[in-house]
């Protein structure tokens, strides 16, 4: 077979001269396309979508815009250009040159990290596959598809690492990532948040704000890895992840704007009758998505996290900006823990608390976004403010999975939880209501009534542009 690899799979890893990798990807690519066809965006293969395709890592290359049919999207393999002098910033290998090959002793740990990260990428595509049917505008539909193809590309990035560096086991893992499916009873995705449904656009925006933000923090800590190809892959993925979070933050922001506009227009807080989503309901969705995403950071005190850090496999966010010795031996980090029926702060070995530290960074980052939403409400002249729930609220992993807490972080009884949890989390009625608003709007320049139009443009194309052509 004579294939022009750089045309078919845009890359900066010299694919055309790597026969082993070509063979691996040739076997994998048909399975990937089959998967995309079966579980990617529903009934979308004929649409022309105005997409950004990364065709190189240069400034002008990573944002190339054009109409593309998604199955023909060129899922490329891009790593941030290598720095031949890069040294390791943390852990026991600190100061040594970054690894260009997988060290045998860390083979399984590295593979596990890559598989866990890789598994989330196709998962969110599966979770979002039916959203196209109910898009609020062509602009949003296009953003959804952009997120989807980029998650697909991120899967490619992880699969590339598995295929290129992990031999037969890596190939098997790459295939297994297409065999597990979100919400599948038999072969679910590895992490629970990726088995939840994304049934409506409000959930989608919340998901991209909260859950994709977990992705940002995970990628940022993997970008610190001593394993250079992983580090470089993640650095490049981060540039795309930023767009996903923009979709989330601006999406929720536009809903908040619309709700406030309706509140002002109709002089009421309850805008459901006017076809808007009231602020308390938005808060409930926020509570749900925040708490589910907080689980993704894992156990507060973790053996695995300690091992990953100590052996220089996975660092902290922005390691170089942290002013310490980057070893964490014999230092401590404050962690919230349960003590009887109280939540107390305890100093724990910093090495074991790496997950919690990342969760702290994450919560801080989420809070910034929430404040920007509050600014919209404030500017519209209302007193309501969103608030992130306490980290003990509605958790399924870690210390707090064994208790119930209210959004303020007070520990409550099972009985109280049963009575009150629907004041804090979306009820079936709330979900049904939100679902009822989800009517497709597919005329260029038009938008659904529950969300405000965007202020910005895509590649200088304004909102009226035909971002998706239905032919």
């Amino acid at each position: 077979m004579n294939i022009n690899y750089s045309e078919k799979i845009p890359n900066n890893v010299d694919l055309s001269s790597d026969r082993r990798l070509q063979r691996a990807l040739e076997q994998w690519q048909p399975k990937f396309l089959e998967w995309w066809d079966e579980l990617g965006p529903d009934k979308s293969s004929e649409l022309d979508v105005y997409l950004r395709t990364a065709i190189s890592v240069e400034k002008e290359g990573w944002a190339h815009f054009d109409y593309v049919k998604m199955p023909e999207y060129r899922w490329g393999i891009f790593l941030t250009p290598s720095d031949p002098n890069r040294t390791i910033d943390f852990g026991i290998h600190k100061g040594q040159p970054a690894w260009q090959e997988v060290p045998g002793e860390y083979r399984s740990e590295l593979r596990r990290l890559i598989v866990t990260q890789g598994d989330t990428e196709p998962a969110s595509v599966e979770q979002q596959r039916y959203l196209g049917k109910t898009c609020p505008s062509l602009y949003d539909l296009r953003n959804l598809f952009q997120v989807n193809v980029e998650e697909g590309r991120h899967l490619w990035a992880m699969v590339y690492l598995l295929q290129a560096y992990f031999g037969r086991d890596g190939r098997e893992e790459a295939e297994a990532m297409l065999e597990r499916h979100s919400g599948d009873q038999d072969k679910p995705r590895i992490l629970d948040a990726f088995n939840e449904e994304t049934p409506d656009w409000l959930s989608f925006f919340m998901f991209t704000f909260f859950t994709d933000r977990d992705g940002k923090f995970q990628l940022a800590s993997l970008a610190e890895s001593a394993f250079d190809p992983l580090s470089r892959s993640c650095r490049f993925m981060l540039t795309e992840e930023a767009h996903h979070m923009f979709v989330g933050e601006s999406g929720v922001g536009r809903i908040v704007q619309r709700t406030c506009d309706l509140m002002n227009q109709h002089k009421t807080d309850d805008v459901r009758e006017q076809g808007g989503i009231d602020l308390p309901t938005l808060q409930k969705y926020l509570n749900f998505h925040f708490s589910v995403s907080a689980d993704l950071f894992g156990q507060e005190i973790s053996t695995n996290a300690a091992t990953y850090y100590n052996t220089s496999l996975k660092g902290r966010m922005a390691e170089a900006k942290i002013d310490d010795n980057h070893l964490l031996h014999d230092t401590s980090y404050p962690v919230l823990e349960l003590s009887g029926d109280k939540i107390i702060k305890t100093d724990c070995p910093a090495l074991n608390a790496v997950n919690e530290r990342l969760r702290d960074d994450y919560i801080e980052d989420c809070d910034l976004g929430v404040r920007r939403w509050n600014k919209i409400i404030e500017n519209s002249g209302h007193d309501f403010r969103f608030k992130l729930p306490h980290r003990a609220f509605n958790r399924n992993i870690g210390h707090f999975s064994t208790i119930h807490a209210d959004p303020e972080g007070n520990i409550i009884t099972q009985d109280e939880w049963d009575r009150k949890h629907l004041e804090w989390l979306p009820s079936q009625e709330d979900r049904t209501f939100v679902q009822s608003l989800m009517q497709p709007v597919t005329e260029p320049g038009e938008i659904a009534g529950w969300i405000a139009p965007p202020k910005g443009k895509i590649n200088r194309q304004s909102f009226e542009f035909e971002f998706v052509c239905f032919n």
């Binding site: 026991i92 399984s108 596990r112 053996t303 300690a306 850090y309 090495l351």
Partner: protein, 549 residues
């Protein structure tokens, strides 16, 4: 003090559900229910306390539930079957406790296999999540292993790469010897921390069947049904109840209904005296059932079992156990006759196999065993096994001065020639006279007849036969001498001498445990301050001394 007596109502870590022929034992370890402080039993990891409950359940299923034909071992945690022995616990505990822990868990695994092979109660491991290390070894003790096929659940023995120790509960031996996994496959399997899942796990014979998650519980039930149909356990029988043991500990004296133990801390000796049965013995299965756990051989087996465990775990410094017996030898012979005559009856079968397991436990203790045969004793048949099990035995030749008691005699019964096999697969008589069938025949020809001291000595049943003038001094000096030796050297010597004859799965497991694992447990690469076992969980990496020994 560690207690070995428990009851399903008190279980913290297991739930036992019984639905006619099918019992389900679900592991749901209480994180905060560890036997000691300093560790949490996360992710269905276990310590001795968890295994004491399992041992109790395995035992009760045989006696209290004749109707149960298949036992499903599974977990009530979502993605974890069992992650093996708790590592933090292993890092914290003394060497002695680690070894005792390993031995006890091994004995429990063996009792699971014994239930299947001797009692028609088949164990199925329904692995519904990760089964790592001791978790997979637990599954290996079952007859049939089912693994959920969800692209992530795997079986693994990660001890070597992760902890620098060995799988301590027979894992290495069972994969190659029991499941016939190829040696090269096993080698690979035991070095990958993440283990093996899916089709390869079946192809390599690490498991028997792979089942999708949605069909898992149905398929487990179907297999359980199939195994139940093949079982010979009785259909319409009521079990007996194993009630709490009547044990009192006052100072250095432990008292059961049929057994007393006195601890002599000065000399490091425990004197154990077994009380023979009393007159009104049940002779038929129905009356045996009515007597239940008060039936002498069963009551004694339970008491002896408890005493062995108590003394092994709680009295580490009492290194020599001296057995005596007292009672009517005729009645012991009568009990043995009843056991042999009704051996097909389910309850009698259970009692005999329990006696076998208790005596096996005794063979494996790291204590010097001495049996003293004195006038008034009743070392007949089943109890004669204590003479064969001892490292050394003394029988008084004749009588004590001024005593009118008849001199001590010994007697064999059918119980000495088959039912009470050691873990090497031989009777104690066979092990004693390995490759000397004539010696065995000679003894067996005398079945039911008394051996006086002279005859017992000539036949090789006892070691020495001092007369009343020498007795006290001989016995005292011998014991004093013994207690002056290095306990380590004694343990090693005794274990090496006790199990002559062929290797079996069990002898290999215990032999390798005591040789390899105990050696590795002492080595700095595992147990030193910077050893893998100590550092596990901290994220720190151990530096191995690369010298091969």
């Amino acid at each position: 003090m560690i207690k070995f007596n428990t009851h399903p109502d008190e279980y913290q870590h297991w739930s036992l559900e019984i639905n006619r022929h099918l019992a389900t034992l679900k592991l749901n370890v209480n994180e905060d229910g560890g036997l000691y402080k300093g560790y949490k039993l996360k992710l269905n990891s276990y310590d001795l306390g968890v295994d004491i409950e399992l041992n109790d359940a395995v035992q009760r299923l045989r006696f209290e539930h004749p109707e149960v034909r298949t036992v499903v071992l599974t977990s009530s945690m979502d993605k974890v079957f069992c992650s093996g022995a708790n590592i933090k616990m292993l890092g914290l505990l003394s060497h002695a406790h680690k070894v005792n822990f390993c031995k006890f868990t091994n004995e429990t695994r063996n009792s699971i296999e014994d239930a299947t092979s001797c009692s028609g109660q088949t164990y199925i491991a329904a692995i519904n999540g990760t089964a790592a290390g001791g978790g997979y070894e637990l599954a290996l003790a079952s007859d049939y292993i089912m693994l959920v096929d969800d692209s992530s659940s795997a079986v693994s023995l990660p001890e070597v790469p992760l902890l620098a120790v060995l799988p301590g509960t027979g894992g290495l031996t069972r994969i190659v010897d029991k499941r016939r996994v190829r040696r090269d496959h096993a080698d690979f399997f035991c070095t990958v921390t993440e283990g093996i899942r899916g089709k390869r796990a079946v192809q390599w014979k690490l498991i028997d069947e792979l089942v999708p998650r949605s069909k898992f519980s149905d398929m487990v039930e179907k297999r359980a049904q199939e195994f139940s149909e093949k079982s010979y356990r009785p259909l319409d029988e009521q079990g007996i109840t194993l009630t709490g043991l009547n044990r009192t500990i006052e100072g250095d004296h432990i008292r059961y209904d049929n057994l007393t133990a006195s601890c002599d801390r000065q000399s490091g000796v425990v004197n154990l005296t077994i009380q023979g049965p009393s007159e009104d013995l049940p002779l038929e299965p129905e009356s045996i059932k009515a007597a239940g756990d008060k039936f002498w051989p069963l009551a004694l087996a339970r008491e002896l079992d408890d005493a062995i465990l108590h003394l092994s775990f709680n009295e580490l410094k009492l290194g020599t156990w001296v057995f005596r017996s007292s009672g009517n030898a005729e009645l012991v012979a009568q009990v043995d006759k009843v056991l042999i005559k009704h051996k097909e009856h389910w309850l009698v079968n259970e009692i005999v196999h329990y006696l076998k397991r208790v005596l096996k436990r005794l063979d494996l203790v790291s204590r010097s065993l001495v049996t003293l045969v004195e006038p008034g004793s009743c070392f007949t048949g089943t109890l004669l096994e204590l003479v064969f099990a001892a490292d050394r035995s003394y029988m008084l030749d004749g009588n004590f001065e001024d005593s009118t008691e008849p001199p001590a005699v010994l007697q064999t019964t059918e119980m000495n020639f088959g039912p009470l096999l050691m873990c090497n697969g031989l009777t104690r008589v066979q092990t004693r006279f390995l490759n000397e069938p004539k010696m065995i025949e000679k003894i067996q020809d005398q079945n039911g007849k008394d051996f006086d001291a002279e005859e017992a000595f000539e036949s090789g049943i006892v070691t020495f036969i001092p007369d009343d003038i020498d007795w006290d001094e001989e016995v005292r000096i011998s014991i004093e001498e013994r207690t002056s030796f290095s306990p380590d050297a004694l343990t090693g010597m005794e274990a090496s001498l006790r199990f002559a004859g062929p290797e079996t799965l069990e002898t290999k497991i215990f032999g390798r445990l005591s040789a390899w694992q105990n050696w590795i447990f002492q080595r700095p690469n595992a147990a030193g301050e910077n050893g893998a076992l100590k550092l596990y969980g901290t994220g720190k990496v151990s530096k191995y001394d690369k010298e091969r020994v």
